[in-house]
Assembly symmetry: C2
Homo-oligomer: 170 residues x 2
């Protein structure tokens, strides 16, 4: 992973976070699938910068439209209607749905509002929900940051990788 | 799109290629879906760096495993067996499959060998097949380049966007 993809995308010992996560998945012989909305493919791109990523990354669904979230990931229509595509419930269902669709040990999801448009008082630009579905259940994380579209996406991708790293480390 | 994501990712007039493609899709009220293997999400990431990309990008499937290529994109098993996941036939079926899965006007695919491992005499590292499925049929492109993993991915993503730009311009 090149420095130009985000200077802060590093784990412990200066090793890039995608390589740290890859090493943990590899040592556990675990597989991963991604459900990306906000990040649009950035998490998958970062993970596949690491040689040999095909040993653990099965694939991803980038579900930018609501239709894709329901049809490909099994997110329930009422969640999109009443809680919205950017919500903890949607993030959890995306992670669980992609884990099921790919038959992976772990499903990791990102949803949020990258801006500059689309924000509201309740969900301002920079609102991010992440979720990780695994053998022991599903955990989620809520971020609220500032910055431009690129930074919101990059922080979300980094945090998603970190959520996975912490789960694998335990 | 930041310069650090690849200084050569630019279209005419210095406008970033993802923005050029986005403008063309928008003016034609056309939608796009991506089937990424080699690029691992990079094409989707680049497209979603442009504000308002949700108006035309429905989503993507990153199909890194053969299983994902068959189950989610409808690539035929015999194509994977006899021509391989990195072949013109696989790229065409990926593009057509993702177009169908998302109900998009255009389906754009990438497959290839990023390296450093996985190359052979017949298909060296840097071998890339791209395809674009649209209302008028499917076109494909074969690239053979050199460079490290990051460069192979970046060139493939740029070429895929350029393939789409040319089709939309006609």
């Amino acid at each position: 992973v090149r420095a130009r993809l985000g200077d802060h995308v590093y784990g412990a010992d200066g090793e890039p976070l995608p390589a740290v996560v890859g090493g943990l998945l590899r040592s556990r012989r675990a597989t991963l699938a991604l459900a990306e909305s906000l990040t649009g493919g950035l998490v998958g791109h970062l993970i596949t910068e690491v040689p040999g990523a095909s040993a653990y990354l099965l694939g991803a669904v980038v579900a930018y439209s609501d239709e894709a979230k329901t049809a490909l990931l099994g997110v329930e229509r009422h969640v999109l209607t009443y809680q919205g595509a950017v919500s903890e419930a949607a993030a959890r269902q995306m992670a669980e749905g992609v884990r099921r669709a790919f038959g992976a040990e772990y499903g990791l999801s990102t949803t949020g509002i990258a801006g500059p448009g689309g924000g509201s008082e309740a969900k301002p630009v920079g609102t991010v929900h992440l979720a990780l579905a695994g053998p022991e259940g599903t955990v989620s994380r809520h971020l609220l940051g500032s910055g431009d579209r690129h930074r919101v996406k990059l922080r979300a991708a980094w945090s998603a990788l970190d959520l996975l790293r912490r789960a694998l480390k335990d």
